[in-house]
């Protein structure tokens, strides 16, 4: 095992140990649920980081895929009474299918085109959902458009943790989400350090060589896009299960800004960058609650400033500091 992989393993195990211990040390419900939310965003961000930073795919559709997972789980539960235990992995698969459609349409094109098309597709889905006023069903609570319309979807089932764990059900949510984050991070590591990561590096640094070795950008990107969509969809489904409600607010630009900042602040293309960025931004967000007016301005400034001044992110800055320390010793 290489030094880098060994280091990854150590860091990963440490973080895992800390994460497992948290609900026993910091027992307030608020902290545990915020941590769960952090895990959810971390899953999305690690996958988006793969797509954007490793695969070089300018996708702005990540949030739409997240929403896809959330809505899929909710719809399956609401209309077909599919229990969430089944609904969550199914939502992941649905998201993979959707992502493949999007990928087939967009990925043959060059970078900027992909960005615009994915943004446009996300926008279209959003517009459709909020403008759909036809009542698909008419329950006692009122007119219900197919995808829930502006009000969203609730009452699509439960994970059953309340029955099993009573008032501590949120801890069960915590561990479930942590488990998925673990899988997502392992996936991320495998991709970055494995042959796919190497292939993408070749495509970036020496496209001619890559082509001559039969590495097709389109095929690799499509695979990466689809596989990372699975975890993104899972995250969305777990989000829905956690809050027991899903609405078009998951398409908001603010949320996109928030998550994009996590990647940039952490370090685009790195393994631990997204996690670090997610933690950093959630902490800052928590601390700045009073200034929520300026939240978006702050996010915009952070995004631009980091990309321009500290492009390697916090991970890069820390690595540089570490290197300087070692060269002095």
């Amino acid at each position: 095992m290489s030094a880098a992989s060994r280091r990854d393993l150590v860091v990963g195990l440490l973080l895992l140990a800390v994460a497992v211990a948290i609900p026993f040390v910091l027992t307030t419900r608020y902290i545990v649920t915020q941590a769960t939310l952090f895990f959810i965003w971390a899953i999305v961000v690690t996958q988006w980081n793969l797509v954007l930073g490793v695969g070089g795919i300018f996708s702005l559709a990540q949030m739409a895929l997240f929403a896809c997972g959330a809505y899929a789980a909710a719809l399956l539960g609401y209309y077909l009474q599919v229990p969430l235990w089944l609904g969550i992995p199914l939502a992941g698969l649905v998201t993979v299918l959707v992502s493949m459609l999007v990928g087939l349409a967009c990925l043959r094109l060059r970078g900027p085109y992909v960005a615009l098309l994915t943004l446009a597709i996300a926008q279209v889905i959003y517009i459709y959902i909020i403008n759909d006023t036809d009542c698909f069903t008419n329950p006692p609570s009122g007119c219900m458009p197919l995808f829930g319309g502006v009000r969203g979807i609730t009452k699509f089932g439960e994970l059953g943790f309340r029955d099993l764990f009573g008032t501590k059900f949120y801890v069960a949510n915590y561990y479930l989400t942590l488990f998925i984050l673990l899988l997502a991070t392992l996936f991320s590591i495998v991709i970055i350090r494995g042959p796919m990561g190497l292939a993408f590096q070749a495509l970036r640094d020496n496209p001619g060589y890559a082509l001559s070795r039969g590495i097709s950008r389109f095929k690799y990107q499509l695979w990466l896009f689809a596989l990372s969509a699975f975890f993104t969809g899972l995250a969305g489904a777990v989000y829905a299960a956690n809050f027991r409600a899903v609405g078009p607010d998951v398409f908001s630009i603010t949320l996109l800004l928030f998550l994009l900042s996590m990647i940039v602040v952490g370090g685009l293309g790195t393994i631990w960058g997204p996690l670090l960025g997610a933690a950093a931004l959630m902490l800052v967000d928590e601390g700045m609650k009073e200034f929520s007016d300026y939240r978006n301005i702050g996010l915009g400034v952070i995004l631009a400033a980091f990309v321009i001044l500290l492009p390697q992110g916090l991970v890069g800055a820390l690595a540089a500091l570490w290197r300087r320390r070692r060269s002095r010793a």
Binding site: A105, R108, G300, I302, I308
Partner: protein, 293 residues
């Protein structure tokens, strides 16, 4: 039936002309810098707000308001060059980085407007009253004004690009940057000029768009997206193709809205765009900008 046709053509051309104006700026910026300016929508909106502020709040004449908005737009474009493009130009991941940076800058501008002017939609004062009757259809004077102004601006840009020395330098830089440098062109200045022009055009576009609807801080997102789609369909960097595509798209959108309703108009348009791109990944008029692997 012909009434409907006139209606569609009138609104389609107007909207198309508006798209064309802001698309030219985007296309120029991408053609010469390789940069997708995601702050374009915010600059567009800012132009509308400046006009509002000067005319409504300060009570000055539109003859002051409109040029002021244009100047502010140009200044914002220049600022984006200095803050985002210039520092990142030498880096390897320029396209991605500047894309993200302009997303951030756009968010800052948008929320600044939100803080300064509030979220409540405001009426754009720069609007012409009345209209004319064609057949049995009433065409608002504002639409005609927009069409005339757009055509005038496009002609101005064309003259600038085709017949002036600096215009030649801009086109040369877009077609081959290193060769332009070898001719003695200071490409940094060209980039600044192009971004300033793009900002000025965006501001005008913002005034026009808000005159047809209302002024709100987030109104720029939709026109920006549509302008980008026009660019993509035309082939990023192709300016004349962009103008033609903008008009076409305006008409198509009007038809689509009539046929499937406003709600699905954009969606239908998008599906058409995707089909076009699968068939012609270079865009309709583009060349070798895209690699099919």
């Amino acid at each position: 039936m012909s009434d409907v046709l006139i209606q569609i053509v009138a609104s389609g051309l107007t909207v198309g002309a508006m798209y064309a104006v802001s698309t030219i700026g985007l296309s120029l910026v991408y053609g010469s810098l390789g940069m997708l300016n995601m702050a374009h929508g915010a600059v567009l909106t800012f132009g509308g707000y400046i006009a509002y502020y000067i005319i409504t709040t300060l009570g000055l004449s539109p003859l002051v308001g409109a040029p002021a908005a244009v100047l502010v737009g140009a200044a914002l474009g220049l600022a984006i060059y200095v803050v985002a493009a210039l520092p990142l130009l030498r880096t390897r991941a320029f396209e991605t980085s500047v894309f993200i940076a302009t997303i951030g800058i756009g968010a800052v501008l948008e929320n600044l407007m939100l803080k300064l002017f509030g979220a409540y939609p405001l009426p754009q004062p720069l609007a012409a009253p009345g209209g004319i009757i064609v057949g049995r259809v009433h065409i608002p004077a504002q639409n005609i004004l927009i069409l005339v102004v757009s055509l005038a601006l496009m002609a101005l840009v064309a003259v600038l690009l085709q017949r002036t020395r600096i215009g030649r330098a801009v086109r040369a830089t877009a077609q081959n940057r290193e060769a332009a440098q070898l001719m003695g062109v200071r490409v940094g200045h060209v980039y600044a000029l192009v971004l300033a022009m793009s900002g000025a055009l965006a501001a005008v576009s913002g005034i026009m768009v808000s005159s047809l609807t209302t002024l709100s801080p987030t109104m720029g997102a939709d026109p920006m997206l549509k302008a980008f789609i026009v660019c993509v369909v035309a082939g990023l960097g192709n300016i004349y193709g962009a103008v033609v595509s903008a008009l076409l798209l305006g008409l198509l959108e009007a038809i689509a809205q009539y046929v499937v309703g406003v709600r699905f108009g954009f969606a239908t348009l998008l599906i058409l765009v995707i089909v076009v791109l699968i068939w012609r990944p270079y865009g309709l008029f583009g060349r070798r900008q895209v690699v099919r692997l």
